[in-house]
């Protein structure tokens, strides 16, 4: 698109951010009283809601078309479902869940959280994570992972560490962190990274575009730094929530 430069000469992006700057993040835990754990996050204009049920008895019903949830004898089963609201994108979406992208996203979320949740502690049970995107402005996977982390923490399910995610791209020799929809639609390479910050272990790394391997390290580094920044913010939210609940319950 002529005239739309993702990175200006002075180093500013389309929405005025610097190359490595994140969008404003606001999060809240415990938004639903009826679920075991719930959280809501806003990353810029991307809004995601996550709800966790569990651990509970694994049920042998057909969850999503084709997959059958069965109890595992030595660990808990993690079941993720991703859905985006019909009003979440610019054009109204016809199928909120059950389409290919939602199934793939659900699978990616499941892989991410199986790496982080200590499933050995709860054999034969099932943990359900439902994520819904209310407004999609780029970085939906990252927002979902961050919201789901907070929701799992709210439910009291033991986890190895936070799972913080961020997306990154590459434009004009500079790596950009936390892409918005405009930047994603421009067609450049984009990478999604989910990280366990304390140990630096990667839970999931996903990219489906062409990127020269010389640039990979730079982009990965930018994504990792952004994920650590996200961790700082989420950590603050969780500590505030725990402190408040602790005061209310009394010493």
């Amino acid at each position: 698109m002529a005239g739309l430069e993702l990175l200006s000469d002075q180093g500013y992006r389309v929405d005025g951010r610097r190359a490595g700057e994140l969008r404003k993040i606001q999060a809240r835990m415990g938004v639903f009283a009826q679920a075991d754990g719930s959280a809501y996050i806003e990353q810029g204009n991307t809004k995601a809601l996550a709800v966790v049920y569990g651990p509970h008895e694994a049920s042998c019903v057909l969850e999503i078309r084709g997959s059958r949830a069965r109890a595992l004898p030595d660990r808990a089963l993690v079941n993720c479902q991703y859905s985006s609201a019909t009003f979440s994108t610019g054009e109204r979406k016809r199928r909120p869940h059950g389409d290919r992208k939602s199934c793939e996203m659900g699978l990616q979320l499941r892989q991410t959280f199986e790496a982080a949740i200590l499933t050995q502690l709860h054999p034969r049970s099932q943990i359900d994570i439902y994520v819904q995107v209310l407004q999609a402005d780029g970085g939906t996977y990252a927002a979902c992972v961050n919201a789901a982390t907070l929701a799992v923490l709210d439910a009291g399910i033991p986890m190895r560490d936070f799972v913080c995610a961020c997306s990154a791209g590459f434009v004009d020799g500079t790596a950009l962190a936390d892409l918005s929809h405009v930047e994603e639609a421009a067609g450049g390479p984009q990478l999604a990274l989910a990280l366990l910050p304390a140990s630096g272990q990667i839970a999931l790394l996903e990219m489906d575009a062409r990127l020269h391997e010389d640039h990979l390290e730079q982009v990965l580094e930018a994504a990792a730094r952004a994920a650590r920044d996200v961790h700082t913010l989420l950590d603050r939210v969780v500590r505030q929530h725990v402190k408040e609940a602790s005061i209310l319950l009394g010493d």
Partner: protein
């Protein structure tokens, strides 16, 4: 029909109005609790590279050499002797599966249930079977057991479960029924085995169920309370709270299997609704639930209408009053 609407307002954290600070050490997952290897690790922690790391978010509790982190909200962890209220989810071959807000469904074995009729009594070496479960037979049994036969050895068994009992299981408890029971044993994977071996446990009749977090129910000597306001409450340790009208005469027909379906009077229903709203308001402010706190909240809510109790400003006022009264009472 009158409708009330209100706009969203920023929520003010309640802890500010309390003005208290917490002295506990709070951790989040991934935090290192200690690098000292001399400690034993308890719940909520795991060992990683010579360090003890927290796996849930909450305060650290240290008892001598044991460190554990207590999560704010968990599913119910069964302990022997707890009273629970549960819902039957499945009827299997010799047992029922009961949902008790825990990680795995609890189990109620057919042999752990007091079946109406057919108690086997052994009197000084002789077995005699008391058939039937009606009042007269129960009186005979109580007489035998209660009287001062000091030279006679008496023990009571439940009769062995037969195939007819198995087939009749659905007649006792079906899917969707609510029961009150006590925890008999805990299996190694955390599943809980229940029993209803006393007359005060059994199928629950008419009433209201409130589901709260198990951490908000205070452990007490007794969990069955008859409140002076006119209703009775069962505070299940698993967070299920059952509010029901107090029966004037205690009938114990058939050990609590026949649900009493007499119509409940309007006064009783109002008391029960008010109690339910009071419990919900206490839970939103994360106060511990026990008979005194529920009663004080009920009394504080009397000036308001039942449906107004859940409005945010009324809720805060009532719970603040309850909190003050409880503080005064303590000391």
């Amino acid at each position: 029909m009158a409708m009330e609407m209100r706009l969203p307002v920023p929520r003010k954290p309640v802890s500010e109005s309390l003005g208290r600070e917490t002295k506990k050490h709070l951790v989040v997952p991934g935090d290192t609790i200690t690098t000292d290897t001399g400690f034993m690790r308890g719940h909520g922690t795991y060992m990683g590279e010579e360090k003890l790391i927290a796996s849930v978010a909450g305060p650290v509790e240290r008892v001598n050499k044991l460190i554990c982190v207590k999560a704010l909200k968990t599913r119910y962890n069964g302990e022997v002797g707890d009273i629970v209220v549960g819902r039957i989810t499945e009827v299997q071959q010799k047992r029922w599966k009961v949902e008790t807000n825990s990680r795995l469904d609890s189990v109620l074995l057919l042999s752990s249930m007091n079946l109406p009729g057919g108690e086997l009594v052994r009197v000084s070496g002789w077995y005699c079977m008391i058939l039937g479960g009606s009042k007269r037979e129960r009186r005979v049994r109580d007489l035998l057991l209660g009287s001062d036969f000091s030279d006679v050895a008496i023990s009571v068994f439940q009769r062995r479960r037969s195939a007819e009992d198995e087939l009749a299981m659905r007649g006792f408890l079906q899917e969707g029924d609510l029961i009150s029971a006590e925890v008999q044993a805990v299996f190694s994977d955390g599943a809980v085995s229940l029993h209803t071996r006393s007359l005060k446990y059994g199928k629950l009749g008419q009433g209201v169920l409130v589901q709260v977090s198990p951490s908000l129910v205070k452990r007490q000597k007794t969990h069955f309370h008859d409140l002076p306001c006119g209703a009775s409450v069962i505070l299940g340790n698993n967070g299920f709270i059952w509010i029901y009208p107090t029966r004037e005469h205690k009938e114990e027909d058939a050990g609590g299997f026949i649900a009493n379906l007499e119509p409940v009077s309007l006064a009783d229903r109002e008391v029960i609704s008010r109690l339910r709203n009071c419990i919900v308001s206490l839970v939103t402010q994360r106060m511990l639930l026990y008979d005194t706190s529920i009663l004080y909240c009920y009394e504080a809510s009397l000036p308001h209408q039942i449906k107004d109790i859940l409005k945010p400003e009324v809720l805060e006022e009532i719970v603040m009053e309850t909190r003050q009264r409880l503080l005064e009472q303590e000391g």
